[in-house]
């Protein structure tokens, strides 16, 4: 049962990710990306990580994509305003994307499946996640917050500069 749900969700996420790349209209691209994020959140729920799923929805679909859509609407971008690229740029893009794909395939070719750890009750709960974040991974957690602070300060500085 869960396997079928997984296949359907994977089909939705890969399909909408491809549509995101292929659609000419930027607004359609954003909407397909939102669908992709939703299906990824559903994947998290299958993995028993409710907190990650809901954070994925709040942060990515609810905040970042709303801002994306906002900027695209504000600039009123549509398929006509997309500038056509020269052939050499297209060839270069195809080559580099193909090489990246090759590297990913190569890295997965030799990989072996990790042993499945036994299910602990409350595995993805907020309580356990908080405990792990604030004990084992405290330094990376705090470093991330400093990163966010510097990004915020940088954007304020850029906005202030006339």
């Amino acid at each position: 049962m869960l396997a079928y749900v997984f296949y359907i969700l994977s089909a939705i996420s890969i399909g909408s990710a491809l549509m995101m790349v292929f659609s000419k209209n930027p607004v359609h691209s954003v909407l397909y990306l939102i669908a992709t994020f939703f299906s990824i959140a559903a994947h998290f729920i299958i993995l028993n990580a409710d907190f990650l799923a809901i954070v994925q929805i709040i942060v990515y679909t609810g905040a970042i994509m709303v801002l994306f859509l906002y900027v695209i609407m504000l600039l009123n971008l549509n398929s006509e305003s997309e500038v056509s690229k020269s052939t050499i740029v297209k060839v270069a893009a195809a080559l580099s994307a193909g090489l990246l794909f090759l590297v990913m395939v190569a890295s997965f070719k030799e990989s072996v499946a990790l042993p499945v750890s036994e299910v602990v009750p409350g595995l993805g709960s907020v309580k356990n996640l908080g405990k792990v974040l604030f004990s084992e991974y405290l330094l990376p957690f705090e470093a991330t917050s400093v990163l966010f602070l510097s990004a915020m300060a940088g954007s304020v500085l850029l906005a202030k500069k006339k």
Partner: protein, 340 residues
């Protein structure tokens, strides 16, 4: 097991029907309250006291001509109101409507589902609620609709921050993200509002902004933008947009009642000498009484305060509410440490 499943399906259906009926009669109540505040009578032609007015409105919406503008993006134009309705109806799943009811020795919870991240679920649904307005406004291919959509999105993003911060103080105090546990901790008259008055005021203002109610109804500001994001809409699609606003109002009053006003708890609930089931049913009545007062309060505000200007709206959100909410979180944390 079988009966538990049937009970759950029945409960969800009843909650959905009640949501729709309350939203329907909110449209009438809005006009009655407006009339009362402006010393008029209000609609009183359809049925006794105008009670059939919502039905008449619904019939009118269904029989009006359905127009899809030629320059609009057809599918997205239809998707907009559908999304608005869908996200409006989703939040009611985690609200606890009442305490546990005991039938034949088995406990039945009067709630759709008690997930351990209920509060975050509410925020998740609220944050995607703006897509209906944005997609509809953009797909209309009309500059007034587009301006309405852009206003809606920036307003939502701005007020979500302060809303989340005011809720963090509650989560810190109660130590849980489950809505049911937050309600259970406010037993009797021990409501959260007595501990978090500032947080409540911030949350109330943000709820008004998130539901696009006056004085924050800038996305559909008719003096500047014709009809805002729903300028091009007609017939039942317009009805869906207007209806989803009332559902949102009902749900956000429900959230406020559950988080700050004790949900299904009421004073002296254990001293009445009644059986647990009777107290649970009275609790449901108390919860709905709180919600209905909340809806009346929202309408009262709408017919009392004039609309904000857009820069005032942004200034209020970013320069007053967010710093105040952060200060509230800090003070709550300090008090918690010193009284431990």
């Amino acid at each position: 097991m079988e009966f538990a499943l049937i009970f759950k399906i029945l409960l969800i259906t009843i909650v959905f029907v009640i949501t729709l009926v309350v939203a329907m009669y909110s449209t009438l109540a809005e006009r009655k309250v407006a009339a009362f505040l402006q010393d008029r009578i209000g609609p009183n032609r359809a049925g006794p006291f105008g009670l059939l007015q919502p039905l008449a409105d619904g019939v009118k919406f269904f029989f009006k001509e359905e127009i899809i503008p030629t320059h609009s993006n057809k599918w997205l134009f239809i998707l907009g109101p559908c999304l608005a309705m869908l996200t409006a109806g989703m939040t009611s799943a985690v609200l606890p409507w009442g305490d546990v009811i005991n039938i034949d020795g088995v406990d039945y919870m009067l709630q759709g589902t008690d997930i351990n991240i209920g509060i975050l679920y509410i925020f998740g649904v609220t944050s995607i609620g703006v897509y209906g307005i944005m997609i509809g406004g953009w797909a209309s291919n009309n500059k007034f609709s587009l301006l309405g959509a852009i206003r809606a999105s920036s307003q939502m993003i701005s007020y979500e921050l302060a809303m989340g911060l005011s809720m963090i103080a509650i989560v810190m105090m109660s130590g849980t993200l489950s809505v049911r546990e937050i309600v259970e901790q406010q037993d009797g008259f021990n409501w959260n509002i007595w501990y978090q008055p500032v947080g409540f005021i911030i949350f109330l203002i943000c709820s008004l902004a998130e539901t696009n109610r006056a004085p924050f109804d800038l996305p559909e500001c008719e003096t500047e933008l014709v009809g805002g994001y729903h300028t091009e809409y007609s017939s039942m699609k317009l009805g869906f947009y207007l209806f989803s606003e009332y559902i949102n109002m009902f749900i956000s009053c429900g959230v406020i009642a559950a988080v700050y006003f004790g949900g299904y708890n009421f004073p002296f609930m254990h001293d009445l000498g009644l059986s647990d089931n009777a107290v649970a049913i009275l609790g449901v009545v108390a919860f709905f009484a709180k919600i209905i007062f909340g809806i009346f309060f929202f309408m009262w505000i709408r017919w009392t305060l004039p609309r904000f200007r857009y820069d005032q709206l942004m200034k209020l959100g970013w320069q007053y509410l967010i710093p105040l909410a952060i200060l509230n979180v800090l003070i709550t944390g300090a008090v918690m440490i010193f009284t431990k």
